[in-house]
Amino acid sequence: MRFVFTSAVKDLRRIRRDPVMLLTWLGIPTLIALLLVVIFGRGDARPNGKLLIVDEDQGIGATLLAGAFSQGALSNMISIEKVDREEGRRRINKGNASALLVIPKNFTTALLEGKPAKLQLIRNPAQRILPDIIEQVLSMLTDSAFYLQMVAGPQLREAAQGTPTDAGIAQISVQFNHAIADLRKYLAPPVIQLETKVIEGKTDKPGGFAALMLPGMLYMAVFFIAGGLATDVWRERTSGALRRVVTTPASFGAFLGGKLLAVLLVLALVGAFGLAVAHFLADLRVSNFPLAVLWIAISGTGLYLFMMLLQSLASTERVANMLSNFVLLPLTMLGGSFFPFDLMPKGFAQIGRLTPNGWSVTELQKILDGAAVSPVAFAAVILFVAAAWLVVGWRVRRTAC
């Protein structure tokens, strides 16, 4: 219907006339993201990663390897537990740890004598960032272990004789870390191989901490914009524009349809922009750009209607705003926008994934990771949009008069 487009153009024009509003909506989550990254960098946030180590070597090499994880910022993120092979297997399969590292027999000997050895790392596919960090640290260690042997060989051999003291190990660990920093420049084919496995053969993804945060942040922006646009109807109500619409032959459904179209386009733009920035600046992997943008736009429109539904319960604009803020903040926090699900306590993450925005983020993550289109998810959102359109249209038309 023609009036849908007329209405959409009207709303887009109004949004364009108020760019400050749009920038604010985009700015708030960006600011929070920056803030979180700064805080996280200082080590105040403590994600609970667990690295299980099966130590079949029982030598100084294994101790040093484990020691590398208990230093500095890493020790805040990852705790280590030594287990036997069977228990380790069992626990990683149940998803009770970030990763399982198997240090083979004679690893120390190989390390000291520069012989080939193979470390095995089994990642928990349900988590992203912590296994990433563990793997990166390990590959750094194995890259440089060969050179370490040349640089620190004497101390190492000395330490390998007899039982080393705690202080001795700490000292060596520090040297170990310095050596790593120095030796990163001289990369060579590794003598010690790191073999990584993800159970059930899940693909890995690039990108670090920022890439992990960004989808959630993007949805915070989307949710804020959706909530802000939803309150806009109150302005139309107060001015009497809604009542005027009712007195024209145009249908109220078309009027609301125009709004949905405008919201869809704005969110598509925000999504495309956000994903592009995340991709180029933070190395976020975007497997299917158009599909991801479409998902953000459609699910965001669903969030818009969700906020409209909520606000239609209110009797005044003030109450609607309060209600909206009351719901927006906890939902964004719980929905993986402040803290990615991977870093959340398990119970919270489970609840968070069930929130409308949390669910949308999870689905977006799947699309970003290259999963095929989920017709069920799309159908669910479209069904919700259609149903909410009817209910909101009815409610808003009624309260307009």
């Binding site: 023609r2 009036f3 007329t6 209405s7 009207k10 024009r13 109004r14 006339r17 108020d18 139309e236 001015s239 009497g240 524009a241 009542r243 005027r244 619409v245 009712v246 007195t247 024209t248 032959p249 145009a250 008069c401």
Partner: protein
């Protein structure tokens, strides 16, 4: 044409409009005159299908507004009491939007927009956001948005409130032009003079009921060519009643300790005998004599003034 039959609108216990019946013809300006809260906006709301009547029937150009709402709304143009516009859009964009809502499009819409902008004197400010407009300019645009699609039935809800005298004259001319072009205009106001000078026929409404309706001449005749004499001072109501009961052609409209309103035929010639009679029942300090008008009719019908 608007036909309203036994219209009733109830909000819980409040009856905003009760048993209102009137017919407004094409080419005619029909006035709905009444004080605040009389039920004018409610009546217009029911005609424009913003509100659902509790009882009664309304037909616009022959279409029942409840059963055949879309068809009825096609011939209606509304100028609401509030300024129902988009503040961040320009005058042209506002007109484009509301014209589009009425089904206009393309070149026809563009031409009409320019036409009404010219009529309302807003052409040179057509492109800026209307939040920079003065209140009066917004009123004029509010009006323009109601007539952009050349409606056969025009509903105007106090369109001149807050407009300066010059703009008001201009606006009233525009309303007349609409009627001359054949539109059926329903005009609500609480300005006596406006109703008197503008409307061909009118209904006086108070507390939701029509208390009188007809042409201006017909309504005046209800006063039986009597003048309205208002006196202030100190009175004893019972004694006043007694003193005046001997005089022919004098009717007490309102009487209390400080005020007295009388409907008197040929008052100017009878003032001496009137004062003589009243002075026996109190003391007169001030006098106003009014020729028959809507105001005196309103006071006669309701016992109170239209404007407080």
């Amino acid at each position: 044409m608007i036909e309203v039959e036994q219209l009733r609108k109830q909000y819980g216990d409040i009856t905003a409009v009760k048993d209102v019946t009137f017919t407004a013809q094409p080419g005619e300006i029909f006035g709905l005159l009444g004080p605040n809260g009389a039920g004018k906006t409610t009546t217009i709301g029911c005609i424009s299908s913003l509100l659902t009547p509790t009882a009664g029937h309304i037909r616009v150009m022959g279409h029942d507004v409840v059963r055949d709402g879309v068809a009825a709304r096609r011939s209606i143009g509304v100028v609401p009491q509030e300024i129902a516009l988009y503040d961040d859009l320009s005058a042209r964009e506002n007109l484009g939007y509301w014209g589009g809502a009425q089904g206009l499009r393309g070149a026809l819409l563009r031409d009409r927009i320019t036409e009404v902008l010219e009529l309302t004197g807003l052409l040179d400010r057509a492109k800026e956001p209307i939040k920079r407009f003065s209140g009066g300019m917004k009123r004029r645009l509010n009006f323009a948005c109601g007539i952009v699609h050349q409606p056969k039935v025009l509903l105007l809800d106090e369109p001149t409130v807050g407009v300066d005298p010059q703009s008001r004259v201009r606006l009233l001319e525009l309303v007349r032009d609409q009627a001359h072009a054949g539109a059926c205009v329903l005009y609500t106001t609480h300005y006596m003079e406006e109703a008197q000078t503008l409307c061909d026929r009118l209904a006086i409404i108070d507390h939701g009921s029509i208390i009188a309706q007809g042409t201006l001449a017909e309504l005046r005749s209800l006063l039986a060519e009597r003048d309205l004499l208002r006196l202030t001072g100190v009175f004893r109501p019972d004694a006043v009643r007694e003193a005046l009961s001997h005089l022919e052609g004098v009717e007490i409209i309102q009487s209390d300790e400080t005020q007295l309103a009388l409907s008197v035929s040929d008052a100017s010639h009878r003032l001496p005998s009137l004062f003589a009679a009243i002075n026996t029942a109190g003391e007169v300090r001030g006098t106003t004599l009014t020729q028959p008008s809507l105001e005196s009719l309103f006071i006669k019908l309701t016992g109170k003034e239209l404007r407080e």
